[in-house]
Symmetry: C4
Subunit: 200 residues, 4 copies
């Protein structure tokens, strides 16, 4: 049922219950070789929140609360990437309890909000985890994400990223933030890691 040429080298495990080992079918062939190489080294993925895990909209209620729209596809991608041992971080300049709750649902360990200095925050995480920047991926959409993107081994801009951000990214997703962009990144890295582990 799956395209054979592409997956013949992948272990095609089938389990009734464990979704985490279902095969992934991203269009990895369309991704430039150097970007794929960068992806094979990734041990941590840090996501911006607004515009990256959401479409950038802030629903504001009359009593001063914010509502954010996350996507269920992104959630599954993040979970599966975590299960393969990749660490996940969220770094946001804003502060919202909704982010905390979503992070809890997905079991994300590194959640930092209210960070004007995103780069300093990322550097702290990397230092504590003992992961060099070349093995980190940063996914963002706007100017405050640029400093982090400049130091990471794999800098990804979402489809709706500002032009300045798309310009410095190694790769840009075809899906928009909050509409599957994070899933695309996670599936791509999962596939790159899997390909790397298979002897050719």
């Amino acid at each position: 049922m799956y395209p054979r040429a592409r997956y013949s080298s992948l272990p095609l495990l089938q389990s009734r219950f464990d979704v985490s080992i279902l095969p992934i079918v991203p269009a990895i062939d369309n991704i430039p070789a150097d970007v794929r190489t960068r992806a094979t080294n990734i041990r941590l993925v840090a996501f911006d929140v607004d515009g990256t895990l959401t479409d950038g909209r802030l629903w504001m209620t009359e009593d001063g609360r914010e509502i954010k729209a996350f996507h269920v596809h992104d959630g599954l991608g993040i979970k599966r990437l975590r299960e393969r041992g990749v660490e996940i971080a969220l770094i946001s300049a804003r502060i919202s309890r909704a982010v905390e709750l979503r992070a809890e649902q997905l079991g994300i360990d590194h959640v930092y909000q209210g960070k004007q200095d995103k780069l300093g925050c990322l550097e702290d995480i990397l230092r504590a985890s003992g992961i060099p920047p070349e093995q980190a991926c940063y996914v963002g959409d706007d100017l405050p994400d640029l400093p982090c993107m400049r130091i990471c081994g794999l800098a990804v801009a979402v489809a709706n990223a500002r032009p300045e951000v798309a310009a410095v990214a190694h790769w840009q997703t075809s899906a928009e933030g909050g509409r599957g962009a994070a899933r695309e990144v996670c599936d791509f890295i999962c596939a790159a890691l899997a390909l790397q582990q298979v002897p050719t």
Copy 2:
């Protein structure tokens, strides 16, 4: 007023009050013959929730509540299908009171949430209802839906389904989840059942 060629064999009842017997005009001619045959046997339709009855977005409020967006067109389709004797089930991996409430509005009997093992859940429903898998339709959008789709007589992927899911489906809707995909499935099965009942 309706295209004649296509509906000449359908009883064109007109009632002021009973919407359930209004004719349905899906583009059934465009659907492959084997998919139509599969549809004529359906006695139960099971829907995934997030991404299938919604567009996959999870609006999260600061006080930790989730908001989901269902579609009124889907609701009418489900109601009409139920009125023709087809059983409806909702199977979700997540848990949300919003799903319960929407199911109550539509009079859906089988509502299962928090099910990591969707296949086991579907098998339980089928066993209790005495319906064989070949007479069941499953509508989904993401990896956790694959096991259910593999056993059902009619496996449908919504327009926004992940590529792995679209690849195993017998049919893919043109409408997206939460934007009429369920209506498309219901109207199609209604039309298939009606065509079957009409002597040619």
Copy 3:
């Protein structure tokens, strides 16, 4: 600044404060002559709610409340049409306090919810108002709207209407429900009424 050819016969009043007399620029030339003739007689416009004044989505919260998304453009269109003496009615099969509140904001007199028999409801309104069906316009999107559309002088389907509804409409808007469809109807009828009043 406005296209001259089209508006040379319209009184181009300019007021600092009274928005209601600002000129309207709908693409009235693109509308078939018989539809324009129907519009010149309209004294009441009845709108369906879900899918017509909204895009059909029902946001449901965990505590069982519904949220609907109306559009500010539609609101201004309805207000302006009322100011020209046209009566406005909302007829919904569902019940939601959000509809009541939106109707209050716009000063709509006829608000009927929980109406399974929309046609009976519309006939009551017309009888009470002394307006014959030929001078009424009905705007809808789904099967329950068909009976009302069949008796009205001007039956309008929104862009996202089900195909059965589009098939019986005299005219279909280019804007979707909840995204300017009602504004398009109101502007069109305003323009038709204005053209009628101007001696040529």
Copy 4:
């Protein structure tokens, strides 16, 4: 990494922490020369709210509260423009506490709601600030915005503006209201101001 030809004359400062001085890359070359000239004089930008800072949708809850969706990209654009000394005003015909809260987040000084006479309101702001109308920019989407747009040095219509509004605007954004339109205006004016300050 940035297109050189276009930015060679701009000071390309790089700071780890201060996002406000990151370079801006709007497609300023595509904007007509007279519009650019108008932008170089701007000292105040006044925004309509519904349809301009939002996409015009009013989410209404059952307990009568309104929810509006602002965009994080617009927020950063407004902040950066303020940091360059340009004053920001919000003028809305409606009243919502959500607007107040969003304005507080962005540090906007002039926030006026419930203003049926938007022109009078704008004139008051300009008089108090000692800014002539030629040095003001107004961004809007619907008929009530027309009077303000007619007196301002730079009148901008968002992509989703009503045709009457687009017709009187000096410039129309390519992004829609609540989806980056305000960011586009802010970035454009920032770039115009920066170009002006650089000796050629």
